[in-house]
């Protein structure tokens, strides 16, 4: 919590009301035997360190080097991701949509913030924000411009509004100049934003 005076002396920062209330709730639920603090630690560790966009990047890189895998991925995203070990919470039913020179895909959830956790981790604040949720469907090209991506008029933009329990992942275009790269190096090029559809992958 900010204070009116400077921060050059060492009194403790007063915890916000919310910090205290969350602590109180955790303590209550622990004492009632409703939650196990070790499970809370494990959940936080999972989404801080284990599940994130590197998962999705591996899926994309595999699809780029293996046309048969790519076909499986576009036909049944859930099964093809499970082959690489990715599934579970907020990724049980995955649909992969492919960017091409003619089609650009963009993912949003206008009603809340549905997002493919199993391959991208937890969503960034901007994805959950009112500006993105409101404008991605009515002005996708304007939103993309704010991310520095200018699409040609001839390109078809497809926006996927995640209103049900399907979760979407964009398969970005493999960048020119990446022909010599192996799977690991390709995966390193793939960004979270390119798999949401607000960026392209650069070589």
């Amino acid at each position: 919590m900010s204070t009116a005076h400077g921060h050059d002396h060492d009194h403790q920062v007063v915890p916000s009301d919310l910090t205290l209330r969350v602590k109180a709730l955790e303590s209550l639920l622990t004492e009632k035997g409703l939650v196990d603090p070790a499970a809370l630690d494990a959940l936080i560790d999972k989404y801080q360190h284990k599940v994130g966009p590197r998962n999705g990047a591996r899926v994309v890189a595999r699809a780029w080097i293996d046309p048969i895998y790519k076909q499986r991925l576009l036909t049944d995203g859930t099964a093809a991701m499970a082959e690489l070990g990715y599934g579970g919470a907020q990724g049980e039913h995955m649909v992969v949509v492919e960017n091409t020179p003619k089609v650009h895909n963009l993912i949003v959830c206008t009603l809340c913030s549905c997002y493919p956790w199993s391959v991208l981790g937890l969503p960034p604040v901007w994805y959950k924000s009112a500006p993105y949720r409101s404008r991605a469907v009515i002005d996708p090209r304007g939103v993309l411009r704010e991310f520095g991506l200018e699409l040609a008029d001839e390109t078809e933009v497809r926006v996927w509004d995640s209103t049900a329990e399907l979760r979407y992942l964009v398969l970005p275009e493999r960048p020119a100049g990446s022909e010599a790269l192996g799977e690991e190096s390709l995966a390193a090029l793939v960004t979270r934003d390119s798999m949401i559809g607000v960026a392209k992958v650069a070589a």
């Binding site: 919310l18 910090t19 969350v22 602590k23 109180a24 955790e26 303590s27 209550l28 639920l29 009632k32 035997g33 409703l34 939650v35 499970a39 809370l40 630690d41 494990a42 959940l43 936080i44 999972k46 989404y47 801080q48 579970g88 907020q90 990724g91 049980e92 039913h93 206008t110 009603l111 809340c112 913030s113 960034p124 604040v125 901007w126 959950k128 924000s129 009112a130 500006p131 949720r133 404008r135 469907v137 009515i138 002005d139 996708p140 090209r141 704010e146 991310f147 008029d153 001839e154 078809e156 933009v157 497809r158 996927w160 509004d161 995640s162 209103t163 049900a164 329990e165 399907l166 979760r167």
Partner: protein, 219 residues
């Protein structure tokens, strides 16, 4: 519910502000709230639909002001009370009532890697005939339920084409209010951007929305 959460098509929220190198959680309490929602949800006392509706039902000004995990904190607190896992007095004091019986947590740390959630819990294998096939023209119903719905306002009354059938899922409008599962097909429906937004939209662009049978009529 025609709530402020139904944001698709609104225009006055300003530009999108991406944050470079954003952490998973911006403060320790956010991580705790995230995990508390998962661990309390593991008791299966409420559906993901009920959980979403709890957030939508926040007063509009609060919904816009509160951060994402603040809303999650409010939702889990209310659902704990609704489901009688805790009382309001317990949540306000942070202390179990004297007559509270200690339980054994459903979610232990070793089960965290195996966790599944809403998608799997909402899919059904019921053999129900689809009302529509890919290629069919459909009109999203002009309906305004006062409770939970996943039919966004911007699609209501608009005509689209069924792109694919995703299979059978629980119907959120009833599930959120404990009125039964009413399982039915969900389709991805393609709406031309001009059908939704008129001449200002690109003639090439489209929005795909996942919609349940009950949201659609033949067109």
């Amino acid at each position: 519910m025609n709530g402020v959460h139904d944001m698709g098509g609104m225009q006055d929220f300003g530009p999108v502000h991406p944050e470079p190198a954003e952490p998973a959680f911006h403060a320790p309490w956010e991580g705790r709230v995230f995990a508390l929602n998962q661990a309390a949800g593991a008791w299966r006392k409420w559906s993901v639909d009920a959980w979403r509706h709890k957030i939508e039902a926040l007063p509009p000004a609060d919904y816009l002001r509160m951060s994402y995990y603040e809303k999650w904190f409010a939702a889990v607190s209310e659902l704990l009370v609704d489901s009688e896992l805790a009382t309001r007095a317990e949540i306000e004091s942070g202390r179990p009532a004297p007559d509270s019986v200690k339980q054994v947590p459903v979610l232990s740390a070793d089960r965290v890697p195996l966790m599944r959630r809403s998608g799997e819990l909402s899919k059904r294998d019921d053999k129900i005939a689809p009302r529509f096939l890919p290629g069919h023209h459909v009109r999203a119903r002009n309906m305004h339920p006062a409770g939970h719905t996943r039919l966004p306002r911007y699609a209501r009354g608009k005509i689209g084409i069924v792109d694919r059938d995703h299979g059978v899922y629980v119907f959120p409008d009833t599930s959120a209010h404990a009125l039964g599962e009413d399982p039915q097909h969900v389709y991805s429906v393609r709406f031309a951007a001009r059908e939704l937004w008129g001449e200002q939209a690109s003639p090439r662009d489209a929005v795909y929305i996942d919609l349940w049978d009950n949201y659609l009529d033949p067109a």
